[in-house]
């Protein structure tokens, strides 16, 4: 089933972390397997924020040897950063297998990211000037507390509560997906993509990498491909309705935009609220009411509807 949520404040920062937590916790019944956030803070000029994992949560039950493996992987990550001309300005580890680095810009972001993911078990969750992508097993409260998200200030964000259907219950199959290696782009999705393998092979032939077998990752790769080829976010969303088969509603966030697309059958839900300074959307009204308890007007976007909002 899965639940998706998104919100964007126009022209100001707000407590996006705690707002998204409230929305996702209200959607817990749609997917209790994992919870993910892509939240956007004030852009850090000249710096990149990189979130990555060096192991899966379930790997931590594999005895004491895993701690040494993780240490070695982190050492390798930091060696690769140095090799590509990036300097570490700060480092945090909310969980032993999950790290956050603030780094100076490397020589080539894409090449460095690809090099880093050659290390077994390492997956970059996100990279960007404003984007912080956090995902882990458990509900929104669990993930938010573990990663200190309640204090996060930013302009916009998207989130996901996952009920695993197409692939495993693990972090690599959790949403959001970063549009590798395109900075500051993330995607959450509710639905099933029926031409996943055809589209995946097409994207792989064009040189894109997939880290999971989750059909939702395709949307991130597809979006990244379009954006890298000069297609605007709105155009990409519209193209996807013709080119991607299945039932889907998905949200895409960039450094300063938030977009949505709904498939031709309108089979997956989305409720939308728009005001002059805030736009909020979610699979169910109850998530919007978690941050806007007062009486408001909301509506369901129709089939093939595409919208993009600016922060």
């Amino acid at each position: 089933m899965c639940g998706i949520a998104g919100l964007i404040h126009r022209g100001k920062s707000s407590s996006v972390g705690s707002e998204m937590t409230a929305m996702l916790q209200a959607l817990k019944h749609r997917g209790p397997d994992s919870t993910g956030y892509a939240v956007y803070g004030e852009p850090t000029e000249g710096e990149l924020i990189m979130r990555l994992k060096v192991a899966e949560a379930e790997d931590m039950d594999r005895g004491r040897g895993i701690h040494k493996v993780i240490e070695d992987r982190i050492e390798e990550v930091e060696r690769i950063l140095e090799e590509h001309g990036a300097k570490i300005k700060s480092k945090e580890a909310p969980r032993e297998y999950s790290l956050r680095y603030v780094i100076t810009h490397p020589d080539d972001t894409g090449e460095m990211a690809a090099h880093m993911e050659e290390t077994e078990g390492v997956e970059i969750l996100s990279m960007g000037n404003g984007l912080e992508l956090i995902k882990d097993l458990g509900d929104a409260k669990v993930v938010s507390e573990a990663y200190g998200l309640n204090d996060f200030q930013g302009t916009h964000g998207i989130g996901h509560t996952r009920m695993a259907t197409e692939s495993d219950v693990d972090i690599k199959s959790a949403h959001p997906y970063w549009a590798f290696p395109y900075n500051d782009v993330s995607v959450v999705h509710n639905g099933q993509i029926t031409n996943y393998w055809i589209m995946r092979r097409e994207m792989e032939r064009k040189g894109h990498r997939f880290m999971s077998n989750c059909d939702s990752e395709l949307l991130a790769v597809y979006t990244a491909h379009n954006l890298a080829n000069g297609i605007s976010l709105e155009e990409s969303l519209r193209k996807s309705i013709d080119e991607i088969d299945g039932v889907f509603t998905y949200l895409v966030a960039t450094k300063d935009q938030l977009g949505m697309a709904k498939d031709t059958m309108a089979a997956k839900p989305l409720v939308l609220y728009e005001s002059d300074d805030l736009i909020a959307m979610a699979s169910e009204e109850v998530a919007i009411r978690a941050i806007l308890p007062q009486e408001i007007d909301t509506y369901d976007p129709y089939d093939e509807e595409v919208r993009v909002w600016q922060a």
């Binding site: 209200a26 031709t264 059958m265 309108a266 089979a267 839900p269 409720v271 169910e284 009204e285 109850v286 998530a287 919007i288 009411r289 308890p293 009486e295 408001i296 007007d297 909301t298 509506y299 369901d300 129709y302 089939d303």
Partner: protein, 289 residues
């Protein structure tokens, strides 16, 4: 309506009995039997075990911090205490509020609700001041539901009777598998509305999305605005004087009568050309072919 004894009912013809029970029947097409809810006949829409409520006995109930089960249990408890008008406050998108009420009640929900609001009801009059999520009024048998704002998809799925009215716009697949009753939408409706409709009537004052009435078996859809496209086997039909009279009465009743009247409405019915209208058994086909 004056009460009628069982002995009197037995002596009546089917048509007389239907009218005496608060129902009217009319022949729309060859196979149609339309059953219309008569709000004046409320005493006939009760179950023997239904609480004896007093509409003048009114109470309010705050949903804040409560689960759906707690709220719905509380509604039943209040009905047992004789409350005939119950006001729910602060629903804030809760799902499944007021489902399965099978007796007379005035239920007023102040705010917006989530999925399956007042589904499976048989008798109550419901007014919702906000918006409703997916599948509002699903499988309702009788009663009235009035929604002041918008509604989500599958609005009135499989309803069998009663009046389900939304003043705003609704999502996709409105009245999917509708088996009777009336659905009225003040604004627009999305794609595949009236999909596999079997009986009853749907009125959309605004525009309708693509594939309207796809694979409908029977029933009637009236659209006041543009129709993006008709679905498989859905065809336009002549708007009769009886249709206009009915539309005028219904839309006036709910304050949704357009300024320009009802003459501009498009009527959509089943073309009845699909395979399921072939009444021959396989063995009979063999004899012919």
């Amino acid at each position: 309506m004056a009460s009628v004894s069982d002995a009197e009912l037995k002596k009546m013809t089917q048509d007389e009995r239907a009218k005496a029970l608060g129902m009217t029947t009319e022949q729309l097409t060859g196979k149609s039997l339309y059953v219309e809810f008569d709000p004046d006949a409320e005493e006939r829409f009760t179950y023997p075990w239904a609480p004896d409520v007093d509409f003048n006995k009114r109470t309010e109930f705050d949903c804040d911090g409560k689960t759906t089960t707690e709220v719905n249990s509380q509604i039943r408890e209040l009905m047992r205490e004789g409350y005939g008008t119950i006001v729910l406050k602060n629903p804030r998108g809760m799902h499944s509020l007021g489902v399965g009420i099978l007796s007379r009640l005035n239920l007023i929900i102040e705010g917006s609700t989530g999925y399956f609001t007042v589904g499976l009801i048989d008798g109550p009059n419901v007014r919702i001041t906000g918006r409703v999520g997916w599948s509002c009024g699903e499988n309702m048998m009788s009663g009235t539901i009035m929604i002041e704002k918008n509604a989500g998809s599958t609005f009135g799925a499989a309803i069998r009777g009663g009046d389900l009215v939304c003043r705003g716009s609704v999502g996709s697949r409105t009245g999917i598998d509708q088996k009777g009753g009336t659905i009225i939408v003040g604004g627009d409706t999305g794609a595949l509305s009236g999909f596999m409709m079997q009986r009853g009537r749907m009125v959309v004052c605004g525009n309708a999305g693509k594939n309207l009435g796809d694979s409908m078996y029977d029933g009637t859809i009236f659209v006041g605005g543009e129709i993006k496209s008709l679905g498989v086997d859905a065809v336009e039909a002549e708007l009769t004087d009886l249709d206009k009279k009915w539309l005028t009465r219904k839309l006036t009743q709910y304050g949704l009568m357009p300024d320009k009247g009802v003459d501009h409405f498009t009527k959509v019915v089943a073309g009845k050309q699909l395979w399921n209208y072939d009444n021959l058994e396989p063995s009979e086909k063999k004899l012919i072919l």
